[in-house]
Subunit: 425 residues, 2 copies
Amino acid sequence: MTLATDALKRAQAALHDSEALVRAWTRIDMEHAINAAAELDARGDQANLPLRGLAVGVKDIFDVAGMQTVAGFAPFATRPPATVDAVVVARLRAAGAVILGKTVTTQFAVGDPPVTRNPWDTGRTPGGSSSGSAAAVAAGHVELAVGSQTTGSTLRPAAYCGVYGLKPSFNWVSRAGMFPLSHSLDHVGLLAASMSVLRAGFLAARNPSGPERPAPPLERRLRFGVWHSALHHADDSVRAAFNVVVASLAAAGADVFAAPEVVDYQHMFAAQQVIFCCEAAAVHRELFQAQPDDYAPKVRSFVEVGSVVPAHWYIRAQTLRSEIRALAVSTWRDIDAVLLPTAGSTAPTPETTGDTTLQAAATLLGLPAISVPAGLIDGLPWGLQLIAPGTGATEALLNVAQWVDERLPRSAERRPPIHAPAQPG
Amino acid sequence: MTLATDALKRAQAALHDSEALVRAWTRIDMEHAINAAAELDARGDQANLPLRGLAVGVKDIFDVAGMQTVAGFAPFATRPPATVDAVVVARLRAAGAVILGKTVTTQFAVGDPPVTRNPWDTGRTPGGSSSGSAAAVAAGHVELAVGSQTTGSTLRPAAYCGVYGLKPSFNWVSRAGMFPLSHSLDHVGLLAASMSVLRAGFLAARNPSGPERPAPPLERRLRFGVWHSALHHADDSVRAAFNVVVASLAAAGADVFAAPEVVDYQHMFAAQQVIFCCEAAAVHRELFQAQPDDYAPKVRSFVEVGSVVPAHWYIRAQTLRSEIRALAVSTWRDIDAVLLPTAGSTAPTPETTGDTTLQAAATLLGLPAISVPAGLIDGLPWGLQLIAPGTGATEALLNVAQWVDERLPRSAERRPPIHAPAQPG
């Protein structure tokens, strides 16, 4: 068998075609990957390896044994390599994945623009903070990449880069071995080239003893609730494309209706921002005091603001969050997925990583969310976001997203143009 | 049957004997209690009522239908009566308890001295903040009372008043209907005249679907770990009495050894205080701004300090707390109970409610803790505290405490002198 080795050869070819322009990677260890692939191929069929030979990129805030974890922070480039894989990396590896290397993250997974460019248009951002993971999947370097999401860092780049993104329920993929940003908001995320790889990646990565509900068969009519107050945060072109997609899901047999409003979207975002900056300050304060000049402006401002927010604001924000979550889960309990655009626009120019507003809700509430590539607007991808109304429902949401994915009225154009010359078909 | 009515007559007699001196109650509704008792007695034996006819006092931060919840805060005296029982009150009532009335709390369950006096010496504090609940049980008014504990508000008054006190695992008795003080530290507590009433009260009050572990039979040798770094916070007389008790437990057949130190006791107390004042500020800030002059000095200072603590301090304290808890549960997993004095001294004079240090650990860690009356020091009670090393172990700890209770080398003097003239034996 040469399955793993063949997959790696495809990765090499794709890297050769586009990495110089896309700059998705901080480190590739091809030698290690070739050896790992050869080992996998030599193992034959004895082992049950659902990800056998799948080349994977890992956002450079996760530890990969033998590689440094730099997290986009220059002083960390002198640290010794990690000796142990982050738990999610170890789980993917145990399922047969070949870790190809580390992908570009914005500094400490905040919003300062990275070097990475969007494979659909190298004059655009791939989004962030999982910039390299999204771009590497979009450019065809790998079919699966590990990202993270503290506000919108997995789903937004997935949408901008036209790939599949998953933010599972809070803490149902272990964060051990990940450089933290905000302890009650940090999620491990996955980016993938297809729904099937996204699902396989999640099943391999998740905590084995989580309280996930078994996914129900999709035999009945699906019920989708459109989150209307979220739509104000999308531009006209995204809103128009979203409405077309929503209509097509209704035409395909789903019940589509307005999701009962739980809270004004803007209030939720405010709570998320307070929690985020306070927790980021708790993580970064000492390091920032020691090396302020190495901090990028956005991280710096979050840490500075977070350092002066009184605890009772933070506590109120957390209380509000619990109340909203309880209300959302109860209000939406009969809905299969709440629908909203993943991001309010297609990828902007690279002096920003884009607007986080529409991804923040699922993060704040700890609910599973998936971004499905929903087509192109003026040649750039946009994403449809599905949020499940319960924390144990990641696998069920994957089923719902697959149903949606099979029915989206997309054009045939599914790969970025930068990649096209290297693709036979 | 006149069981409930008889119990109420005993309560009336005890109240007549000592309430004028002890001042344990803010409100007694004898008419309601008499009717409830008569109803219970009329029901005969049909119903399974483990607390049948037991007169109960409820700390005046819990809602009791038909009574105001004043929480020691004068402006609340003009509020309308509660229309619904707090969950713990409803559960006790459903088990056959007769709610006699509301007991004195310090203002908002903080440390400002209450009007209540210690039945063992009316020149002493009963402790607080569950001052009236402890005093009412000690004075023989009731055999069971509901209290709360955010630092040491159930166990300390239990120790000072020579009664049994229980702080169950965090959130395993519902706090719904209780005026909050600190959301991640508030516990419902119980005070009782005997181990058997304490157990019956807990079994009736606890959340029905908690993850409590079934209590193991006590057939093997019990293992007790003495928390030595805690002993520095006890005075010489308590330390000496504690050492005698510990030796007697060893002589009675238990393994008694030094509990492996998890963290310096003082560090834990510091984390507890930061969390406490920040959360109290979140609860009280607006009310305090509206009516500052009605606030007692200690509540006021906690709210004022808590209002200016930056969020990242609070977050660090919570992180430290999680780490200590994980370490404690793992380090102590083979111990049946960690032993320390409940309070560092016997009841001091009434310008204070006493020192909270030794009760704070179990509260911070959310672990079940019981105070067993351990004898008298110069005519005043002191308490032995048992902490279980796991959050699901309240019932197991009750078994362990009962074993201890049956073996303590106490003198025969078990009732406070204030009560003696009214008691036939």
